[in-house]
Each structure stands twice: as structure tokens, then as C-alpha cells.
Amino acid sequence: MQAKLTFQKTVLTAIAGFFTLLALFPLAWVIIAGFKEKTEVLATPFRFFPKQWLITNYIDILKDTMFQKAMLTTFGGAVVFAVLSLLVNSIAAYVFARLEFRFKTLLWLYVILTMFIPGMAILLTSFIVVNKLGMLDTFAVLVLPGVASAGGMFFIRQFYLNIPLALEEAALIDGAGKIRIFSSVFLPMSFPVFVIVGIGSYLGYWNSFVWPTMTITNPNLYQIMQYLASFRSERTSEMGMLMAGSALSALPTILLFLIFQKYIISGIKISGLK
């Protein structure tokens, strides 16, 4: 019986290992392909490892000023975007979770209903709106339109609803105002939920492609996914560099994820299912 159980465990662990490898494989492959010589990326016959490990592709792409700019502006944009969206949405979450005011239900419905409008249905008219506002080819067009998010607000509110009223009482007795209560009681407790929602916003910004492609024509403001897609279509002879660039473009995200993975994975448990 014991032997049989151990055997079963081994087989299951082996399957788990195999699937894990399968999940990581495409990414590992792109990283390794970045170390190949230009002509070797798509060499026939296929070779997984490079004949010779060369770092030139990585150095070349890092030296490419367009790549540098795209990485930096996308990173900066993603951070600003995530911070702004946490701010706007958490304040609204607090108001809906704790304050009583006239037209509360009406405002709640107004905000929540925007959740059900798919991006594609308003893609073109959003473009017209930002065009009329004179926002095309500016940093603002990348950041502002997505900052307010009913989904993010809802998620944070669910978290705030579970904060006991007793925690606010001391502050209430001291006569602290609503804004004070938010900043001194709610904000400091928000870390776990902010990690989840913040990384979600960061990812959404970092990975977005169609919106920057529509609204940004100035190469100085190219976003990283836009840059990679145009690289693929325009510089077809430099596939090694494209591989290196794709690998590097995933790096900040993966690092961020590894740092906060504990919160993200436990966040899945509360992400709307509980």
C-alpha cells in the first residue's frame, strides 16, 4: 500500500513537472533564441540551443534608442497609470462602502453599469472623443482613458466592506473627517488589495497594443508592444534582436510578479469568487 502510494505520488509529480515545463517552455525558448546568431534563429534543421551563445542581440536591442524609449515610457506610464487608478478607484470604493448620501444608488448604478460596456464597442468613438480633446499623441491619451475602472473600484469596495466599523470608531470619536478616516484607517490597510488591483492595472497598461497603435504616431511615445509589433513587420532580418527584445519586454512584469506573487496567488481566492 505504502509503495503504491509513493509510486502514485512520483507519477503525479512527474506529470506536474512536465506541465510546468510545458508552460514555461515558450518563454524559455524566446530567451534562449535571443542568444543565437541572426541567421540561426530560424535555422534548418531546428536547434533548440544556440551553436554558440552570443549576447550581441541583447546588447544591440538595449542599445537601440527606440527600444530604450519604448521600455522607459511604457514603464513610467504603467506606474503612473496604476497609481492614479488605485487612487481614483479606492476613494470611490471607500465612499460607496462607508458614506451615506443622496442619490447613492443612482450613482452606484451609473458607475457599475460602465463595467458592461466592452472596449470594442467604444473603441472608435473614444478615439473621436480624445481627438476632440486634443489628446492625440500625448502621454495623457495613454493614461487617462482607462484610469477610472468600475471593476477595480468594485473589487476594492468588497475588501473595504470587510473592514470592521470598530476600527473607525476611535477616529470618529476624535472627530476626524471622512477624508482623514480614509487616509489614516483605510489606506494603510489596503496593501493586499492594492497589490492585486495595481498589478492588474499595470499589466493592462503594459500589454496594451491596439489603443496606443491608434492614438500614438509620434515614435518618441511608442509603447513597448507597439514597438515590438512594428519591429516584427519592418525589420524582418533581425529576428534575434526581436527575440531578445520580446524576452526583455516581459522581464519587468515577471520580476514584479515574482516579488508580489504571494499576494497575487492568494488574491485569486478573493477575486470575486468569494
Binding site: F48, L99, V111, M115, P118, S246
Partner: protein, 295 residues
Amino acid sequence: MFKRNYRQDNGVAYLLLAPIVILLTIFVVIPFIYSLKVSFYNWSFYQPSVFVGFDNFKFVLEDDLFMNALWVGIKFTLMVVPASLVVSFLFANIIKGMRSKGASFVKTSIYIPTIISGIVASIIFVFIYDYMGGLANYVLGWFGSEPRAWLADVKTALPSIALPAIWLGFGLTTLIMLAGLHDIPESYYEAADLEGAGPWQKMWFITVPLMKNIILYLTVTGFTASISQYELSLVMTGGGPLDTTTTPNLYILNHFRNDVMVGNSIAASLLLFVVLGGISAIIFKVLNSEKAIDG
């Protein structure tokens, strides 16, 4: 009870809600109302618009290409959703049985594809499917198969795009399944053990019924996500060959880019909105209700 004696804070509340309400109004509500309006007009960037009533909707519903795109979206969903559900269900069960150290390594690893962008995934998979130097044909070569032009062949193009879609979503689906598995009380399985139930019986009579809500949730979210997928086909095939990978959203996007008359594509996107928005409203309702999870 509590509310009645509570002082109302109209001023502060409105002040604090102003940012979200203003931003949503400018960037979501106004564009949406504008979309509604445009869908009834023969509208273009260059000419005065003409009111045409429901003509745009009629045009879209009679357009073979739109119907084809819907059909492509459904086929794509049927490839992606059942496969991810079954694989991630089994895999979540395996992870649950693992020791915690190994399990957390596996959890972290399988989640990584989820954070990769559709564009990077497309770039990787275009190389994997490459006719001459790609990995897919190389592996098939071991079994003596002839190389295939995966993305250029009408028969294989859509499944070839479904694979990276599964890859991208697999980690998240598995972890949600796992969270659900951990919520099933161990005592149920112990009782089943006493009755002499085998592993398959336990899975079929305990795990599956208790996971019903999570499976339902993942089916519905998986359906909306995969029927709205367009980035993979946009980058990998551009919708070809012969429109076999033109998903509904890609159809809409292509019309935005190529037509001067946009009323049609906006009508198409609104039609999809009615369906998808309705589905998300149902999910929301289920999630927001107290009885989201029984057991």
C-alpha cells in the same frame, strides 16, 4: 436601522466621487452614447452623416463576413474553453496533492504565461509554427510527418491560434480551480474513503458537484474572453487565410481601419455588446449574490 441616525455626507461624498464619475463620463459613457447614435447613421469622417435607422444593423446581420466571424469566434471558443477547463481541472487536482514547496513552485511557474502579453505570445508562436525552422514541424519530424504551413493552411490556422490562447489562460484557470478545491472540506473525502470510494468516484461524486459554481464561472468568463479575442489573430495571421481566423472583434477592428463608413462596424460591435454585456451582467449577478457558492 443604522442608516437612519447616520449623518449624511453629501458634500464630501460628491467631492470624492467626482474623479471617477467625471473620468467614466468622458471616456466611457460619452463614447458609448456616441456609438449608439452613430450606429443609426451613415457616418464617416469625411461626409455629413445621414440618418439610416436600422440599416446598419440589417447590413451587419446580412453580411456573410460578419456571420463568418461569429462562427469563427464560436469555433475558437469551442477549442479553447473545454480544453482549458479539463486540463486545468486535472492539473489543479494534481497540485492539491503535492507537498507545499513543490506546489508553490508549480503555481508560480504556471501563472507566468498569464502575465505575458498577447503580442509577445503571438511573436513566440509565429516562430514555433515557422515552416522551415519552427519547433512544431521539427517535433512532428520525429514521427516522420511532413512539415506543415500551420498558419497558412485553412485547416490548421484556427487551432494553431487556439493553442497560445490556452497557454495564456491556463495558469489563471488552474489557480481558480485550485482555490475552489481547497474549499471542499477534507471530511467529505474521508467519509468517502470509509465507504471504499476510488479516486475517480470521489472526483465524480464529490469534487465535480461541489465545484459546479466555479466551473460555471470559468466557462462563462472563458466564453466571453475567447469570443472577444483578436490580438492573436491580428498579429499571427491578420485574420487569414481566407478569413478562417477573423474573430468578431478582428472583423470590427478591420472595418474601423479600412472603411470610411463606420456606422456598420459600430452596429456590429453594439450587437456583440448586447450579447456579451448580457453575459457579464449575469456573471456579476451570480457573483454579487450571497449564495454564489454553496457547500
